[in-house]
Symmetry: C2
Subunit: 150 residues, 2 copies
């Protein structure tokens, strides 16, 4: 199923978490949950102050090698009639330091995630995954009013 | 972080959903939420009667080409102190028809998912992803009692 542009935008605006998949060394997929906000048609995910494993994150190494990635937004519920998912294919760049649109991206992340009042948005030099949507697919067990999701 | 075998087994036993990532054509990751049950040390996910997109599922085409896949189990919550994730690296086989251990696998899935009382477990010939765990990594924002998760 394909969503209309305003449906896709709405789901990306309200859904708080995505599972981010990239391709690791040895051609194995690598997944991690991320938070994100869309600004100017691009999806941004900060490498934030939530405690992390390791110094140079696997997700950064992976996208430096292959920028093709995927975001999965979905609802799981014990009532399987309410299941849906949205998979977004993205091309990723790692941006760092003096990032274009920085103030608006930070404002969008703060508006979406009040948690950043107490969690650092960036650990050290501001670094983000910047993602361009290149395709998507959606599925739902029953018809969903995508623009009413929250 | 590495979990102890009994911690890993417990999380796989109680957590209802995983995001399954495989590698698609053109070296792009592909993700879909799945249900699953572990039996005899292998993780099984049925291609079940929940309505599907397309006739030959992308996940089956992908693992036929590259059996390296990843499962992500995680909790998202507005309280970021309660976040955790468990990523399980798996080697996948598609098994179909007269599957070894079939009765025990079906029993485990029915025990974990009462939804199968009203949803068909298989659409047509029984087909499953059979996954061997080859590695894992876990993370939590605060210490988690993995064996107490439910």
């Amino acid at each position: 199923m394909q969503l209309k542009p305003q449906q896709l935008s709405h789901v990306l605006a309200v859904w708080p978490v995505a599972r981010f998949a990239s391709i690791g060394a040895k051609q194995r997929p690598h997944q991690v949950p991320i938070v994100f906000a869309a600004v100017d048609g691009l999806i941004h995910s900060p490498i934030d102050g939530k405690p992390k494993r390791g110094s140079m994150l696997q997700r950064l190494r992976n996208v430096a090698r292959n920028g093709s990635a995927s975001l999965l937004l979905d609802r799981y519920d014990a009532d399987w009639r309410s299941l849906w998912w949205l998979r977004v294919d993205v091309d990723v760049q790692v941006v760092s330091g003096d990032v274009e649109g920085y103030d608006r991206i930070v404002a969008a992340l703060r508006a979406k995630y009040p948690q950043y009042e107490t969690t650092q948005m960036f650990a050290g030099t501001p670094t983000m995954l910047r993602m361009k949507v290149v395709g998507h697919a959606a599925w739902s067990a029953q018809p969903v009013d995508w623009e009413a999701l929250r």
